[in-house]
Symmetry: C2
Subunit: 187 residues, 2 copies
Amino acid sequence: MGIILASASPRRRELLALITEDFTIIPAKGEEKADDTLEPQLLVKKLAEQKAVEVSSEHRKDFVIGADTMVFCCGKALGKPRSEAHAREMLTLLSGKKHTVITGVAIAQNGDVVNSFFEETKVEFFTLSENEIDSYIASGEPKDKAGAYGIQGKGALLIKGIEGDYYNVMGLPIGRLYHTLRRMQII
Amino acid sequence: MGIILASASPRRRELLALITEDFTIIPAKGEEKADDTLEPQLLVKKLAEQKAVEVSSEHRKDFVIGADTMVFCCGKALGKPRSEAHAREMLTLLSGKKHTVITGVAIAQNGDVVNSFFEETKVEFFTLSENEIDSYIASGEPKDKAGAYGIQGKGALLIKGIEGDYYNVMGLPIGRLYHTLRRMQII
């Protein structure tokens, strides 16, 4: 029985490696679908469960870890920016405010969810000038990230403080996952 | 007029590089001394000021950045562990509790402080088993770190959450320093 990470995210791979070097990466392929009217917390958990179950149904003996991260601000979910203009719009929205990052995590075996949870972190941005936003966009970091920023790298310069787990904002609440896997005697 | 970092810490160097590649490292040599009866916040600020002023008095035109980080738990300051047994003692103290990390930052020019501040972050540890503490000590990470842990690396597995700036716990509140240097038109 091995551990499989059902995610292609290099940040999640890097974080899981803090727990164990002994895992395989098999990203979930399916387009996850969940009822958009769900509470954000339940939505990300549901999406993580779908990813874990999809991969688990083909690798039944292993423990499969799925995760899904979303950024919520002012009542709406922020995905990955479609363009530089879209990134600018998101960063302008986040400037000077607190928003919420929620990651759902699911562990599946034999095609079934054996454990799942969500973790929530509040992130407060500095008030950013247009110039600061432009120079962050020029760094290329916003491109592939929900909410148009990453907390690691130059995104550090945008953030005044957080409440909760930092690694949750990177995409995987690794401390909580570590303690969960230990309690389940998987590691 | 250049920027000098008056610290030998590789973590501070890495963080300052997020702001600019254009700085020199000249660690302060003197043993900083400050009245131990000072409030922790004033103590770290004072120590940061001493480091910045020491280097600034020999490099008068440049802007010199000094920093000092201390970990406080249960009314006492935790330094770097002297031994594995000492690291175990500190980690056992931190287990299951919230503690405070304070970094003082000072900017000096012409041998005088031109700006200084402190930044405070609360860090909450998971309740750790002896086994978890032992395996963290075996990683070698506690050795050169105040409080016997680093929030980056495997230290991530010990931490439930924080309140405040993550980078402050690494040793430099880089977001606040960035905005301060910009306001002062140094960058």
